[in-house]
Amino acid sequence: MVVFEIIEQIGRISDMSLQELLIENKLKIVSTWIDRVMSTYSADGARFFKSQKDRFANPLGYSVEKGIEGLFASICTGEKIVDLPNELFQFIKLRAVQDMEPSKALAFLYELKDVVREICGIEILSSMSEEWADFDRIVDQVALLGFDVYAKDRELIYQVKIQEMKRGNHVMLAKGGRCPSSLMRGNKEEKKELRVIKDC
């Protein structure tokens, strides 16, 4: 009986397109993909990020869940992906400042290939080599979009640092022309004078 069911299942799947297969396994794929993302955090962190559903009490968990769900829904349409969901923007922005190598920060996007193979079964997918190649291309394209976001965020961090420095000296820069470096020079001069006085 069980054998018949399996054969029937294989027959049914072999009639499905990859897109249909993705849609059918959507919940499982999304949840496994989220688990994989969470596995990059500590066990305590991951447990909390997955369980707390309040978006303000748990912004990271929320952005991962909604971002991954939204992105996978777009992938399931089979259409070209030109933008990432807002939540994923926020998550990549966070990854950009989470003290990890860029490759690790963005690896979760490529992870989808592995997750889909694991859940849908490599044997079945190998019979859809063309569709599989298309799917790979979509994931690669998504990863490149992610790379754009990440790179912009890293650049932004340096701008933020410069802005912060500028803000700290507004009056001196704008009015008196006494930039921090001239103040530092002033300090040195002051010290020299002090030394001369001491030596005398």
Binding site: S42, Q52, R55, F56, A57, L60, L94, V97, D114, V160
Partner: protein, 550 residues
Amino acid sequence: MANLKADELGVKVASDPSLTTGAVPAKDWMDTPAVFEPGNYCYQGKSEKVEYISDALKNNPGLFGEPRDWDIESEDWKLPENWKEIIINGIKERLDKFRSFKIFMDCCVRCGACADKCHFFLGTGDPKNMPVLRAELMRSIYRNEFTKAGKILGRLAGAREMTFAVLKEWFMYFYQCTECRRCSVFCPYGIDTAEITMMGRELLHLVGVNTNWILEPASNSNRTGNHMGLQPHTLKENVEYLCDDIEEITGIRITPTWNRKGAEVLFITPSADVFAEPGIYTAMGYLLLFEHIGLDYTWSTYASEGGNFGLFTNNELMKKLNAKMYAEAKRLGVKWIIGGECGHMWRVLHQYMDTMNGPADFLEVPKSPITGTVFENAATTKMVHISEFTADLIKHGKLKLDPSRNDHRKVTFHDSCNTSRAMGMLEEPREILKAVVNNFQEMPENTIRETTFCCGSGTGLNTGEIMDLRMRAGLPRANAVQYVHEKNDVNTLGCVCAIDRATLSALIDYWVPEVQVCGLSELVGNALVMDGEKEKETGLRFEALEGMEG
């Protein structure tokens, strides 16, 4: 197989079998070492600053350890030979001196209520950023040295020996806590985790483990009266520049007085208000407000800092820096003090001042000369927050206000950790906002008032070398701002704290760059209708008012 390209470049890359897993330490927290890398720590204090500050506190020798050059990333911190003894004795001394510390070491039942309330944990998932575990870093040593169970059972009882690895861990995680006390709100025992961090930092200072970003402003404050080390003429000059701008915008010339004996009120504000953006616009708001009501007040070039970075080092330095405000008030013979928009100044004032330097009996209980209101809440400290003072003026209808002058702003309000949780000032800023702007939108309930999220860079963590850390720690705050920006078109984030104004500006530049940060007094200044003013076309930062664009 080695990744040749990565090896050549000297970088690590994620690799198979699973791209994203396997990098997180699965070991017990006690076995997971703190590793310092550029970007995850604040630079160490310069030896001359340690020398200076030790000299300034020479009646309490040893509080800042031996001045020396050392490197945080090195395995040799050039600690004194007997550093462990110094730490353990330091703990003992503090257990005897501060009853709260002893209670906090003993009474935690590890219920976990605080675990997910810390912004550092929410932005990193690092278990040592759970307040309960951050406190365990200290408790484990306490148990080992001061409890029978710890001495006998060791690790089984959650105890461990003080080692260099533990010291590194302390330095890492007591500087990944902004002492914001959000976790304390949720603790059923009311454990003030901030005070554990404060003890941790005090102990680290005893062996000369410190950060320059805190020591230098504290030294400057002791030397010239303010964090930047601005000298009297520079302070005065900077405020004059602000008065020039006010004249250009409103047509009104203001000439504030300095160090004036016999003034009724001494005004003390964070020095960032007179030299940094956007604090300078807040300072322009103060100047306009005091002019508007004809307050008899003076600025001081000596008590020229509301902030107190001593709070982030040890209680003795905090006490000394706090005392200078009162010394100046006494010298000038004022009746009472108004404090500007600041956060941690008010924690020092409301929670420590009375037992450190108070009560300030030589001053009078603050009474508003305009409304007659007596500020009983400041009966012993004699110091009133500018927002309390302004809200009272508004309540009594003493200000001529035109909120439409802020119509180019849709404002939300960030409750500063210290003013909300350490002094309970929740309604006053909101009363001000309702009077001076037409568009005010609260952020979600669990991110404001007592449960407000920290800016992520308080307690002397507002330094550039840890910008990434600050951005992830500020995620929960920025996330709520982003929400009201997207949902309600909010374009302004108001607050009443100078550190907030500086740190939120950076945070918002990264997360929600469409929003601007401002002090509430700037909005008050914008809305004030001054006698004899010219037609206003811009706000205090020369931004066009609604209907005046182009």
